[in-house]
């Protein structure tokens, strides 16, 4: 598969004859990164599969309006993050649960999940991450696992770099405390 940069991909997408091809290339380039980002928020594979599909459907519908004021990958991450958060909100409403209760449930499902093959340490870390507030959890995952720069994270989440740094710091402290207690 040929490697194109984002600018080229966007140019292809604007060309009516290459639109589908360009979209396919964009999906293939970013699907894994976005999937793992979504998966760490919604935890279950089935849910992540739904959210990634909805994310790319949104991208297809809105890519024509993308003004290139931000990077393509931060724009894609922003859509994926918003889709994941609305998914969690819908789940919460559907089951009449608070978000904390729903995330407690997710902790339990991790143990029996056939698509989770982490060891005891990884399970403890994931449980610790699930105790964090939603936004702090996203910041922690993006920094710790995906190693996304604070500037890009700021573009994706619409939060200042200072606030993101503080959020990550608090998340680390909470996780350390959780691990010590468990």
């Amino acid at each position: 598969m040929p490697e194109y940069n984002d600018k080229e991909l966007l140019e292809f997408f604007r060309d009516k004859d290459k639109k589908n091809y360009a979209f396919n290339l964009i999906m293939r380039k970013y699907q894994e990164k976005l999937y793992w980002h979504i998966r760490k928020i919604v935890i279950k594979h089935e849910d992540a599969n739904d959210v990634i599909q909805n994310t790319f459907i949104k991208v297809w519908g809105n890519l024509d309006n993308f003004k290139e004021e931000s990077k393509l990958y931060t724009w894609l991450y922003r859509i994926a993050t918003n889709e994941s958060l609305s998914f969690l909100k819908k789940k919460k409403t559907k089951y009449f649960l608070s978000l904390v209760d729903y995330e407690n449930q997710l902790k339990e499902t991790l143990v029996g999940d056939k698509y989770f093959n982490g060891d005891e340490i990884q399970l403890t870390l994931q449980k610790a991450i699930l105790t964090l507030p939603r936004k702090q959890r996203i910041v922690f995952n993006m920094k710790y696992f995906d190693e996304i720069k604070y500037d890009d994270m700021s573009e994706i989440l619409g939060t200042s770099v200072g606030a993101l740094k503080a959020s990550y710091h608090h998340a680390v402290k909470k996780i350390e405390k959780f691990v010590k207690e468990n």
């Binding site: 589908n20 293939r28 699907q31 459907i57 297809w60 982490g118 870390l125």
Partner: protein, 143 residues
Amino acid sequence: MNKKFKNTKNPFTVPNNYFDNLPNNIQNKLSKDSSEHSILQKIILYAKPQLTLGFMMIAFASITYITINTVWNKFHLAKHQINEFANIDEVNESDFSEQHYLNILLEEKSVTNKTDENTEEYIKYLVDEDIDYSTLMNELYYY
């Protein structure tokens, strides 16, 4: 951050060939959505004039019904009110009817007649007993 977590790999997995099939699955979903969308669009486009006409007829029927209903209710209310006033008038008329006055007069007359009968009895008694005025006054005075 705790040292034992350093370099922790992603513990999540996906089904085999998931990422190979994902773009096709999304493309299929998109084309299915767009075909469903276009069928719906075609139906709407075809049925638009009929639907518009239908809505207009429904709107017209609703407005007519509401208008007639309102006017009928007002008319009915007005008629009802006239009947009510007429009833009131009838009641008032009967309250002050000629018969009513006659009854009252007859009752009064019967009372007056009774008084007249008593007076006549007293006069007859005085004449029979030959009691003149001065005797009567003396008697009343002493009594």
